[in-house]
Each structure stands twice: as C-alpha cells, then as structure tokens.
C-alpha cells in the first residue's frame, strides 16, 4: 500500500500549502465583520465573490473530495467511508422523520455520504429496507418503527446515533490503518462522552444510557452509563481514570470547549502525517485538516454574523494542521 500512494502524497503536500494556517485564522478572527472574512477567504481561493458562507463550505467540501477521488482509485475509496458515514446516518435520521411526517423536505439532507440521500428517502418512504446497505437495514427499520409506535423523536435519534458511532468505529478498524482506527475510536468515545453529559444534565436514567452509548475500546460504557446516571461530577470522576482525563477541565467549562478539545486532539494525532511521505495517512490527515478548517471558518463566520466578542471566538477556534 505504501508504494501506491507516493504520487498522491506528493500532490497532497502541494495542496497543504493552501490550507489555512494560524496567521490566516488570526486575520479572520480580527476581521471587523462577516463580509471582511468572506473577502479574505475569497483571496485564499475559497468560493467566489458574492458566494454565501454555506455555499462556500459545500464547494470547499466538494473540492476536497473531488481531489481525493482524483488521487485514489475508485476501488480503494472505501477506506475513506469512515469520514462519510456520519452524513449517511444524518440522512437516515432525516429520511425516517420525513417518511413519518410525509411530504418532501430536500433541505434536510446533506450530500457527503456514501449513499445518495434520494435512495435513503425512497427506501424509507416505501419501507423497502432491503434496498439499503446491510449495515443500515436493521437500524433503519428499528428507528422508523420506534418513531411510529412511540412518536418519541429522541428515542429514534439515539438509536440512529448509536448505530452511527458503532459504524464509524468499525469502519475505522476495518481499514487496518492506525490513523483511521484511532479516528473511529475517538469519534465513538467522544460521542459517548457527549451523550453521557447531556443525559446527566437532563436527568436520563440508566436504561436510556444503555440504549444510547455505543461500545468502544477506550471507554467502559457500562461504567460511563453508571456514572452518568449518578450525575455530571461522577462522569468527570470516571473520565479522570481514562485516556480522556485531559478533557475533564474542558468539560468543566462547557460542551463547546470539549468539542474544541476533541477536534484539537484529532489534529494533534494527525500532525505527524505532515512529515510522512508514504501511505494513506497523509491523505486521511488532509481530509481531516480540511474538515477542521471548514468547521473553524464556519464558527468564525457565525460568530461575526452574530457579533460575538473576539475573546469568546478565540476560545472556540480550533488548532490548525499547518
């Protein structure tokens, strides 16, 4: 596999030069308003003049995946499904809800998944689960039936979210690549932590947590569920004994701080790939770096639109890959 990606990695190295670095992020943060940010981004090759923020993000995401598709043969693209599965499960939730309330709502779907949103929409509308990929069939049927019988949207959501976390972790493991395995594990574990914190804050019981938490190897989900059913402080005390002890101070601040910690940890994990001239790792790192910068720019633009103070914005801005 190492030899297969030499050309691809060399091209990624050239493209890394156009990633937004810390100084560009600082420029964006100190820009007076959203329009100024958009102008800076236009100068950096993001979107065209007059493009809205969301259109620009969609175009940038497409640009990243078009570039990766250009470099990686179609039969090997499956290795990157680990990054696209969350969009599939988002679309699944949307399709389930749409099929239950009726009508069509095209704006609720995202386009980055491995399955076209239209296919999910059709399958759910006709309850034709067998037309879906095997991994989605059972969860689609279960979540839709739950929503129809209980009318409990949250129950439907936790069923799909748990399946999504499990699918991402398994997809990461299936690649056999350490970076992608770590990515899957981190997404699953941090997803569980967020669920546990939210459940503790809203006073959910143990049964709810057992349904919602996805198993992963870096966390004991039974212990996390036990801690979450006892309260927020117990979660933090449990996390102190895990690989996620560094996240505890951030969790004490806010969930937003924790989310930033998750993204920063991933960037920290992928950073050595910037010096790796071989293998799939630098490509995966590039995708994650692009996703991270798009997320950061989205946060900055939203903050500028809503007049958030610069200090608050700085707290939310993620570390850059370059």
């Amino acid at each position: 596999m190492t030899d297969n990606f030499i050309y691809a990695v060399a091209r990624v190295r050239s493209h890394e030069l156009s990633l937004l670095n810390e100084s560009v992020m600082a420029q964006l943060i100190s820009a007076p308003g959203e329009e100024d940010c958009l102008r800076i981004l236009n100068e950096k090759g993001w979107g065209a003049q007059g493009t809205s923020g969301e259109d620009m993000f969609a175009a940038e995401t497409k640009k990243t995946w078009d570039f990766i598709r250009e470099l990686v043969p179609e039969d090997q693209m499956k290795i990157f499904d680990v990054f696209r599965l969350s969009d599939d499960y988002h679309n699944l939730k949307a399709a389930i809800k749409e099929s239950c309330i009726g009508g069509t709502h095209p704006g609720i779907f995202v386009s980055g998944g491995t399955i076209p949103a239209g296919k999910l929409e059709e399958a759910l509308a006709s309850s034709d689960y067998e037309s879906l990929p095997e991994d989605l069939q059972a969860v689609a049927q279960q979540a839709k039936e739950l929503l129809l019988t209980t009318r409990d949207g949250q129950l439907c959501d936790i069923t799909v979210d748990r399946a999504a976390l499990e699918a991402i972790r398994k997809a990461g493991e299936a690649t056999g690549e350490k970076l992608l395995r770590d990515y899957g594990e981190l997404v699953c574990a941090t997803g569980d932590i967020k669920i546990a914190i939210r459940a503790a804050r809203t006073g959910k019981d143990r049964a709810f947590l057992d349904k919602a938490l996805a198993p992963c190897s870096s966390l004991d989900t039974a212990a996390l569920a036990e801690a979450a059913s006892a309260g927020n402080d117990q979660i933090l005390a449990y996390l102190e004994r895990t690989d996620y002890a560094d996240a505890v101070p951030e969790l004490k601040k806010s969930l937003a701080s924790f989310e930033r910690w998750c993204d920063d940890r991933m960037i920290e994990r992928i950073r050595p790939e910037i010096h790796n001239p071989f293998g799939i790792g630098p490509l995966a790192a590039y995708i994650l770096a692009r996703e991270s910068e798009i997320k950061t720019v989205r946060i900055i633009l939203a903050a500028k639109r809503n007049g958030l103070p610069e200090a608050m914005l700085r707290e939310r801005v993620r570390e850059t890959y370059v």
């Binding site: 030499i6 050309y7 990695v9 060399a10 091209r11 190295r13 890394e16 030069l17 001239p277 071989f278």
Partner: protein, 160 residues
C-alpha cells in the same frame, strides 16, 4: 567447460541485474513523487528531476562492476578461459557480492529518501540544497560497496 567461468559470469550478471532492479524501483518511487509535486507546481521540475535521478546511480555502479568483471574474465574481448578453475570463478563471484547485495538495497532506500526530499522541496523550494544531502548520504554505502568490489575483482585477477 568448468563451473569457474559460470560463477564468474554469474557474479557479473547479478551485479548488473540486482543493481538495475534496485535503481528501477528507487527511481520509479521518486518519479511518482516528482510527478505528484510537479502536477500542481511545474516550476519544480528541474529540482525534483535531480532528486529522482539519485537512486539511478546504483544501476550504473552495477553496470560498471559487470563491465570490469567481464573484461577481467575475458568474456569481453573473447579471451575467456573455458577451463577457469572453480575457486577462481567463486572468487570473482565473491568479489561481486558487495555490489550484488548493497546496491539494490541502497537504491530502494535512496528512493524512499528522495521521495521524502521531494515532499520537502514541494513544501519549501528553498530547501532544495538541504534536501539533496539526505538521499546523497545513502550513496556513501553504495560507493563503499562499489570500491570493495572493484578492489576485490582486480585482486582476484592478480591471483589468477
């Protein structure tokens, strides 16, 4: 005809073959990286071409040893001794071994280092000079093997 000439010829042939294979692999790897680097930045062509060529030297060293060996055993020039003693043939073979073994391995490693250096240059063009040093260091061991093989072949010729 004795086996002596066979082993001497085998040494020469393997020196050219293994070195060529190693260089082909090394230059090929560096070539892929060079193509990747120049796709988005064609200005890098001359710089990355030099880096790509570095692992090619082992193939030349192998060829040189093959020439020297063929010339010493008389295959080139038509003065070969079909009854060359087995011990002499084995000595020629042994003399070629440093090149047979070291050149292909060093070519592949030099290719990998050249790939890394091409990445370095595509990020910062001004590091070209430094980036040349890293793959060039691998060359040291290819040259040492070449020297030993040359000395050994001439030594064996003097014995024969």
């Amino acid at each position: 005809m004795s086996f002596g000439l066979f082993f001497a010829l085998a040494g020469a042939a393997l020196a050219a073959a293994t070195s060529g294979l190693g260089s082909a692999k090394g230059v090929g790897m560096a070539g892929q990286a060079a193509a990747g680097a120049t796709t988005d930045n064609p200005d890098l062509f001359s710089k990355v071409l030099i880096l790509q060529l570095l692992p090619g030297t082992q193939g030349i060293y192998g060829l040189l040893i093959a020439f020297i060996c063929l010339s010493q055993i008389g295959i080139m020039g038509g003065a070969a001794n079909p009854d060359m003693p087995l011990a002499t043939g084995l000595l020629y073979f042994a003399a070629c071994l440093p090149v047979i073994i070291v050149e292909p391995i060093s070519a592949v490693h030099q290719g990998k280092t050249a790939v890394a250096s091409i990445s370095m240059v595509s990020k910062k063009q001004e590091t070209f000079g430094k980036s040349m040093i890293f793959p060039a260091m691998v060359e040291t061991y290819a040259i040492l093997a070449l020297l030993i093989s040359i000395l050994a072949i001439f030594g064996v010729s003097a014995l024969a």
